[in-house]
């Protein structure tokens, strides 16, 4: 590597110069780091950026910008391939602390020191690029979702392998009568147009279809997946879209609603087929909503489409014979989105809605309802047909395959699904121990039979749907390069599934293109670094292979960790897990963090100035703090903020280093862990909480109070709350007293 030449640029704009003494900052760079800083009144203007660019042309190969937060002016201070480090003198310094104050000056100086001290520890990353990458996208499942995905991916110029386990394409749509309204005014059932979708896929030269195909094995990583089929053929693909859809809930478990006792009690899926063939001749039909849904004994969730489907079926009946009496017995009518229009149409058409719980269905089809609106139990007599609106079970497993011996444990993809994750040392009131709620996982074997160290299954959420976060990162599973779309991801109807397919295609396209460039995917899009493991120091403890939220690290035959770089999402959870700090990225490492922790000047206990370290997650906590500063909230100037990629990347060594150099307290601020996590890397903050639960004993053995180290949750919307959280922690630490290790 060429000699490192770091250029340091100080900006006095946006009130920084008026708040802190810039000449003292210059002196620090000169005397402590032997670097020649350049000051500018507005570094982000063309003149300022031109100054930096001129220096880069003159040989500078690393840039430290001491100006605003690293989250703003990112484009202005991007000088790739030269790496830029940022010291925040604006948001977390002058905007959130009083101008001209001694403590504000010390804060600015420390932030500059942190940037300068860490600069020698990192370098511009070299991407992992290795041989051939496939740009081909495999779509598993040939229903509405899969067909749409195949057509869309082909339209984007990618070769598509469409895999269908049965002998015909079209999926459940083939059995459907009409579809829910999907074009304005959304008021009437619309025609089943699966044929046009089938024709579009068949016409595409980029789509190759594999029928009667079952995946037996999937190995590799994004850009390099090798998929083996039951016929022993092997296909190489770059990304996989799972569009396996759903299966109806097993109605034989619904004996209490009369299923099985009479052939006149059918499921909504059977009803759909009857409507398609025109074999319904009933004059009085009752639809029982939530049949086996939102019921702790059956499916605990709402499938979101059964209400609209019953409305559609009732309308189809009334259209055929206006004299038909249709009763919809519901607990809550759930008509998300535009399905409300269908509800109105059904009301206008005279469908009768009865709110209440079904007490029983007799052999003569008498449905007894505890009518909530009239307030009495009423028997509905004279019915010809009872339709049970059953819910959707995701095909996140292969129902035809044997369940693997590890079963649900593997399916959830956690280290130990039974072990409660203890969250210790919360500031304020400690939450109750977090225990996993009852799992609802579909039966069956793995879909892809992944050859991953963390197991063959695609990890699922608590209700068995294969996604990793419905709102924040839809389509993304916890296996990079493998995306889910349609009802396997969450319950949805035809048009939603088609929309979903398009979203997943864009993710898959991004995956194959990023993989071949060695670049990371969401949330660290474009990051070229990847974990490098120094195997000479590795103790084969396997913590990295177990803790990686995305299963990126396998074990080789000698049980050493083996990184699959394109599976990696660059959170650094492996780095935080490694007890011998042998995992690092070119642009991120334990030394990068500890050098920043250690460079801060710790005043002695006679100064009356404590020092606290706030290790904050870049995804939510840092933006929330920036937002707090933009609102001119203030917090204690005794706190030093250290941004990290994810709390999962925080090694306990960072915390013990901080306490041994004399910090009085350490606060970890990150996203919400647990079942309804908000962690951008799924398990990072939970891992941090788990590690922290073990730090209390260590602190006690060091004769330190366990309260000195806490973890708090922060979300992006917490900007008004966080300053108080920080100040309360400072007050708590001040009460405990100074760290006795100070000055050693």
């Amino acid at each position: 590597m060429t000699e490192r030449k770091t250029g340091v640029y100080l900006c006095s704009g946006c009130g920084i110069g008026a708040s802190v003494d810039m000449s003292k900052l210059e002196t620090i760079a000169k005397t402590e780091f032997k670097l020649e800083p350049k000051s500018h009144a507005c570094l982000c203007n063309d003149d300022g950026v031109g100054l930096i660019k001129g220096d880069i042309d003159g040989g500078v190969n690393q840039v430290v910008v001491a100006a605003c937060s690293s989250r703003v002016m990112v484009d202005r201070f991007a000088f790739e391939p030269v790496m830029t480090l940022r010291a925040d003198l604006r948001e977390k310094t002058t905007w959130s602390h009083p101008a001209g104050d001694e403590d504000t000056q010390m804060l600015a100086e420390d932030y500059l020191r942190m940037a300068l001290a860490s600069a020698p520890k990192v370098k511009a990353p070299e991407p992992w690029v290795d041989g051939d990458y496939s740009q081909r996208i495999m779509v598993l499942g040939g229903g509405v979702t899969g067909l749409t995905a195949a057509a869309q991916a082909a339209a984007l110029g990618h070769e598509v392998l469409l895999v269908e386990r049965s002998d015909r394409l079209g999926g459940r749509a083939l059995e459907a009568s009409k579809r829910l309204p999907h074009t304005p005014p959304y008021a009437q059932p619309q025609d089943n147009d699966i044929e046009s979708l089938l024709a579009a896929v068949k016409a595409s030269p980029h789509v190759s279809v594999k029928m009667n195909a079952v995946v037996t094995r999937t190995a590799g990583m994004p850009g390099k997946f090798a998929v083996t089929f039951a016929d022993e053929s092997i296909e190489h693909v770059g990304a996989i879209i799972i569009a396996t859809g759903w299966r109806p809930y097993d109605a034989t478990k619904l004996g209490h609603l009369g299923y099985g006792a009479s052939p006149k009690v059918v499921t909504n899926v059977q009803m759909e087929g009857m409507l398609k063939t025109g074999s319904v001749s009933a004059k009085a039909v009752a639809f029982i909503q939530c049949a086996g849904s939102r019921d702790p004994d059956h499916l605990p969730y709402c499938s979101s489409v059964c209400c609209a489907t019953s409305l559609k079926q009732a309308l189809e009946l009334i259209e055929k014979d206006p004299g038909t009496s249709c009763y919809v017995i519901y607990e809550e009518m759930r008509t998300p989105g535009v399905a409300e229009e269908l509800y109105r149409t059904a009301q206008k058409a005279g469908v009768i809605f009865i709110k209440g719980k079904v007490k029983g269905v007799g052999a003569d089809l008498t449905v007894t309802v505890a009518d909530e609106l009239v307030g009495q139990e009423v028997p509905l007599k004279g019915l010809d047909l009872v339709v049970l609106a059953t819910g959707m079970v995701p095909n996140s497993t292969n129902p035809d395959a044997e369940a693997s011996d590890k079963g649900p444990e593997q399916l959830i993809g956690d280290v130990d699904p039974e072990a409660p994750i203890k969250v210790a040392g919360y500031a304020g009131e400690a939450p109750a121990d977090y225990t996993k709620r009852a799992q609802c996982t579909p039966e069956g074997g793995p879909l892809l039979n992944l050859q991953y160290r963390q197991g063959p299954h695609l990890p699922v959420l608590h209700d068995g749907f294969a996604d990793s976060h419905y709102i924040c990162f839809p389509y993304e599973t916890r296996r990079t390069g493998i995306y889910t779309a349609g009802p396997v991801r969450r319950p949805m109807d035809w048009s939603e599934a088609a929309e979903d397919a398009q979203g997943a295609v864009l993710k898959a396209v991004q995956a194959v293109r990023s993989a071949s460039a060695g670049a990371a995917l969401h949330p660290r899009v474009g990051d070229l670094g990847y974990p490098k493991i120094n195997l000479n120091q590795c103790t084969k403890c396997r913590r990295c292979t177990v803790e990686c939220p995305f299963g990126a690290i396998d074990e080789d035959e000698k049980e050493y960790p083996q990184v699959n770089p394109t599976r990696c999402r660059r959170c650094g959870t492996c780095m935080g897990a490694c007890p011998v700090r042998t995992i690092s990225f070119d642009n991120y490492s334990v030394e990068f963090l500890t050098s920043q922790i250690k460079t801060v000047k710790i005043p002695d206990e006679f100064s009356g100035k404590p020092r606290l370290l706030l290790i904050a997650c870049e995804n939510d906590a840092i933006p929330a703090l920036d937002q707090a500063a933009i609102k001119r909230h203030t917090w204690s100037a005794h706190v030093r903020v250290l941004p990290v990629r994810c709390l999962g990347s925080v090694s306990l060594l960072c915390i013990s280093d901080a306490l041994s150099v004399g910090y009085d307290g350490v606060m970890l601020m990150g996203c919400k862990p647990g079942d309804d996590y908000q962690c951008h890397f799924v398990k990072g903050s939970a891992m941090a909480a788990e590690r922290l639960s073990k730090v209390g004993e260590t602190l006690k053995s060091m004769m330190l109070e366990p309260e000195r180290v806490v973890q708090v949750e922060a979300s992006i919307a917490d900007s008004d709350r966080l300053p108080t959280v920080i100040d309360d922690f400072v007050a708590q630490i001040t009460k405990i007293g100074f760290n006795p290790f100070k000055g050693f």
Partner: protein
């Protein structure tokens, strides 16, 4: 107008469908989604057997007799809070008033016995006959609906008020006041009845 059908069992739609077709505003009643905004908005909800929300559900449930016997349809004060607030634009007030008419026409005993029905028919008698409401005659007619005993009892109880009104010229003794041309008024009303019969017949 045809008489409303009597449902044969729970959720027999016969009566509900008749209401949708024949009651003023009934076509929109089909759109009621049972949110309860009407009942929650009603200033005299506490003085009703059932709120409008529940009454509509009872119509669907086929509880015709209970609907027509309820005092909900008589106690509505036409403040129109519910009509303004209904998210489905159901004209609740119209429906309640027209249901009251239906109840009377079909001879529902509870409806006929209700105070508001008695007063309403006395009021309409005077308005239709003279084009004016004569306080003395309306009151007398209303009291008379309770029979001789009721007439005397109520008359005696309100004697003082009546005397006061006469003294301050709020009530007169003598021939009832009339509009000019009561014959024309009778023609107008006959025409209205004809239109109603045509629309709802």
């Amino acid at each position: 107008m045809s008489a409303s059908p009597t449902p044969t069992g729970a959720y027999d739609l016969a009566f509900a469908r008749w209401v949708y077709a024949n009651v003023d505003g009934g076509d929109r009643m089909a759109l009621c989604m049972q949110c309860g905004t009407c009942s929650g908005s009603c200033p005299i909800g506490a003085q009703m057997d059932h709120g409008p929300r529940k009454l509509f559900m009872m119509i669907r449930a086929g509880l015709k007799d209970q609907v027509l016997a309820s005092d909900t349809i008589w106690n509505c004060v036409s403040c129109y809070n519910c009509v303004v607030r209904c998210p489905r634009k159901v004209p609740v007030t119209y429906i309640l008033h027209d249901l009251a008419t239906v109840a009377l026409r079909e001879g529902n005993a509870a409806a006929k016995a209700s105070d508001n029905a008695r007063f309403g028919s006395a009021f309409w008698w005077s308005a239709a006959k003279y084009g004016r409401t004569d306080e003395r005659l309306v009151t007398a007619k209303y009291y008379w609906s309770f029979g001789l005993g009721g007439f005397i009892k109520r008359g005696m109880a309100n004697q003082k008020i009546a005397m006061g009104m006469v003294k301050t010229k709020r009530m007169h003794i003598g021939m009832p006041h009339k509009v000019k041309g009561t014959g024309e008024l009778a023609k107008i009303l006959a025409k209205a009845a004809e239109i109603e019969a045509r629309n709802h017949g």
